[in-house]
């Protein structure tokens, strides 16, 4: 009897370990892919700003939790967005401060205004507005390579070459892109091919079966990620360039007004000018076929990553006693067909009685 108990204890522990590993693995993958979901379509969650908001509003939200409001999530989100909007207002002021100081000290001429703006701060503001996360690329490559090593059952750093090469290429990507953006997709495919034909060979051992399928899918996913990162960089580059150009236009407008002796008495005038000029600049960008095409490509790249992620998860979860996504799809289809049939029969009965 005691022996049997020990056996089941040991079995239970091993099961716990299996599920523990599975949970950890899923968590890793979710963390790795988190950035994709929130920003589908290129538009923001609030990125790192969300963290700031979370800590700042903790006490208020606690009070809100206790109020029993039926619309707590909406209120929470509205506070978040208000904070975000106000932050942009304050951030703009921060960006303008050096300029204002120079004006106060009579140290500036209209032509030198734009040299006094900190582009890093401006980029930070655009990142927040559009939900870009500057650390996302390196976090993705880091986490995904760890995950893939886990999935591939490897502890020998098979994916390190891919990770290193990708990170290195990403760093040089924005400057390279000024020339011929279309060429840079090739860089990533070359990376993939290099990886596949060297280190990747190790994965090609099983000739057939699920293991082969898993490994091929893993490799495919690396390629997808490369494409996604390339598309994302291309897209963000386009957004930054537009942001900086519109900002320069704001400065030029201010310089022009100053040279004509017009008076600015309110910061809101700057704020309104900045909003109007920026909105128009982005609208002009969004209207172009090039933007529409690039946005479509970015979305497709995100979707490819997701699709392969789902397939991978299915392969790894296949042996567990849980319903898989594709099995649920089949079930939903059966329910849909049956419902349709029942509704049609019910209609026929009613018509027959009429």
């Amino acid at each position: 009897m005691e022996r049997m108990k020990d056996y089941f204890d040991s079995w239970l522990k091993s099961q716990e370990q299996v599920f523990g590993n599975l949970t950890e693995m899923t968590k890793k993958y979710q963390q790795a892919l988190q950035g994709f979901g929130g920003n589908v379509g290129g538009m923001p969650g609030l990125g790192g700003f969300q963290d700031l908001y979370n800590s700042w509003t903790t006490s208020v939200l606690h009070a809100l939790q206790g109020s029993g409001s039926a619309d707590i999530n909406l209120l929470k989100e509205t506070i978040s967005k208000t904070l975000s909007g106000s932050n942009a207002y304050l951030k703009l002021y921060e960006i303008w401060l050096p300029l204002l100081k120079a004006l106060q000290e009579r140290a500036a001429s209209p032509d030198s205004y734009k040299d006094m703006t900190d582009p890093a701060k401006y980029k930070e503001m655009l990142d927040r507005l559009f939900g870009f996360d500057p650390t996302l690329d390196s976090r993705i490559t880091e986490q995904v390579s760890k995950l893939f090593e886990t999935l591939a059952g490897s502890s020998q750093g098979f994916t390190k070459p891919w990770k290193d090469a990708t990170e290195k290429t990403l760093k040089s990507f924005p400057s390279l892109m000024e020339g011929h953006p279309e060429e840079f997709m090739k860089i990533f495919h070359t990376l993939f091919s290099a990886f596949d034909s060297t280190i990747g060979r190790t994965f090609h051992v099983p000739a057939v079966g699920k293991d082969r399928e898993k490994i091929e899918l893993l490799l495919r996913s690396l390629d997808d990620l490369s494409v996604y990162l390339a598309r994302k960089t291309e897209y963000e580059h386009m957004m930054y360039v537009t942001g900086i150009r519109s900002y320069e236009k704001v400065i030029a407008t201010v310089a022009d007004k100053v040279s004509k002796g017009e008076k600015f008495t309110k910061f809101d005038e700057f704020f309104d000018l900045w909003l109007d000029v920026s909105e128009k600049a982005y609208y002009a960008l969004f209207q172009t076929q090039d933007f529409s095409k690039k946005q479509g490509e970015l979305l497709e790249a995100q979707l490819n990553v997701r699709q392969h992620f789902f397939k991978l998860m299915e392969l790894y979860l296949y042996d567990f006693p849980i319903a898989l996504r594709s099995e649920m799809d089949d079930l939903y289809k059966t329910v849909y067909d049956l419902k349709k049939k029942v509704k049609s029969l019910e209609k026929q009965i009613v018509e027959a009685h009429a």
């Binding site: 920003n39 589908v40 379509g41 538009m43 923001p44 509003t57 208020v60 809100l64 109020s67 029993g68 409001s69 039926a70 619309d71 909406l74 209120l75 989100e77 509205t78 506070i79 967005k81 208000t82 904070l83 975000s84 909007g85 106000s86 942009a88 304050l90 204002l100 004006l103 106060q104 009579r106 001429s109 209209p110 507005l129 559009f130 007004k257 100053v258 002796g261 008076k263 600015f264 008495t265 309110k266 910061f267 704020f271 909003l275 920026s278 909105e279 982005y282 609208y283 969004f286 209207q287 529409s292 479509g296 979305l299 497709e300 979707l303 699709q307 939903y332 289809k333 329910v335 349709k340």
Partner: protein, 395 residues
């Protein structure tokens, strides 16, 4: 040239910025004190339900003066309570006050189990069943349809497929010609891999669509709106109005994949509806079958559904009694703007009253008119404005 210093009031700038911070703190406190954001409060009763769909009948306190009931069909995107967002900005309440008998569809929130629902299921299934329920309750062969945005497109398609069940058709800011690139959504949709989207998500999350809407005016919708809100945050009623709109904007149901797939590909990408090539189920949609009176309302500054997408409907229908109505405003203003309450609701009520009789009235198409329309030539249409006294007369 004056000294640059004379052009700036730095002290005032600092004061302004610190005021924003103060308002922000105060605003957060006030927001936290809001208990409930009530929307869609006009009394109504549930008269039919099927899967996740609910059909409601509004309670009429006054006298019904328009005998044919009106079914309001809203888009699958966002929620139908936009038409009754708050008591003093409610097209529903306005129409009820003008003697209309109103029904409204709530499409519900699709889940994964709804992923296979098609355009045919929505139009020849749910919508047709609702029309039949109302016809039966009212004892009428035909009812009035009033479709908004995508709901207007659905009503147009339905009217072309089932003209025998529709007395009058009112389309508000509804797209029919998708070839335009005037609206960003129309341009962006053309470069979207819809198959990949649907195959990945099955039911497309509402947040995905919302992110697209916010991208249309990122600075206004993500920054200006919330900074401006701080100016009204101490006025509880104004703040509540703001929050009602926020609730509506972000209350976005997911989209059943198969239906979205066909709508995006056949309409946005291939523009099949206006070309007469759209198939719903096994039936071809021929807009020339819209032989009942048509009131087509578009908004001149609509950035979501531009006039170029709405206006062409009148050139394709088979009825001679067709009215193209321009509302000076934007897409959302059509439902909630104070101008719309004064202008649009009376216009719609009057137009429907005028066409309420049996074998209806003033502008029945003559055989010649109908034939002319069927050959593809347009008949002279009436373009009304609020100044048109006849149209604005309320019975």
């Amino acid at each position: 040239m004056k000294s640059v210093l004379e052009n700036f009031d730095v002290k005032n700038f600092i004061k302004e910025v610190s005021e924003v911070s103060t308002k922000l703190i105060k605003g957060t406190e006030n927001l936290a004190g809001i208990e409930e954001i009530d929307v869609g409060t006009a009394p109504k009763e549930l008269v039919y339900e099927e899967d996740k769909l609910r059909l409601y009948h509004y309670k009429q306190d006054g006298k019904v003066t328009c005998g044919v009931p009106v079914l309001i069909v809203y888009a699958l995107v966002n929620r139908q309570y936009m038409l009754d967002i708050q008591p003093d900005r409610s097209i529903v309440r306005n129409l009820l006050q003008r003697g209309m008998d109103l029904y409204i569809i709530d499409w519900g929130y699709p889940t994964k189990s709804d992923m296979y629902l098609t355009l045919d299921d929505y139009i020849s299934g749910y919508l047709d069943n609702c029309v039949d329920v109302i016809r039966k309750r009212a004892g009428k062969d035909k009812i009035n349809l009033m479709g908004i945005c995508q709901g207007g497109t659905f009503c147009g398609i339905y009217s072309a497929l089932y003209p025998e069940k529709v007395k009058n058709l009112v389309a508000l800011v509804a797209p029919f010609d998708f070839s335009t690139n005037d609206g960003l959504l129309f341009s962006w949709a053309k470069n979207m891999n819809v198959d990949a989207l649907v195959d990945t998500y099955r039911v497309i999350p509402g947040d995905f669509l919302n992110s697209g809407f916010l991208m249309l005016m990122p600075f206004t919708l993500n920054i200006r709106k919330y900074v401006d809100m701080l100016d009204v945050v101490e006025d509880r009623e104004t703040l509540l109005n703001f929050l009602r709109m926020e609730k509506w904007i972000f209350d976005s149901p997911g989209q059943a994949g198969e239906c979205l797939r066909q709508f995006m590909k056949d309409c946005y990408q291939d523009n099949k509806l206006i070309k007469g090539e759209l198939r719903v189920g096994d039936r071809l949609v021929d807009l020339r079958n819209i032989t009942m009176p048509l009131l087509n309302i578009y908004a001149s500054a609509d950035h979501l559904v531009p006039p170029a997408a709405t206006r062409p409907l009148n050139d394709c229908v088979g009825t001679a009694d067709k009215t193209l109505y321009e509302f000076k405003g934007g897409h959302i203003g059509v439902f909630v703007g104070s101008k719309s309450q004064k202008e649009l609701a009376p216009t719609i009520a009057t137009w429907l009253h005028d066409r309420d009789g049996e074998g209806h009235t003033k502008a029945s198409p003559t055989p010649e008119h109908t034939r002319t329309a069927k050959t593809g030539q347009t008949t002279p249409e009436k373009k009304h404005s609020p100044k048109d006294k006849g149209l604005n007369k309320t019975k």
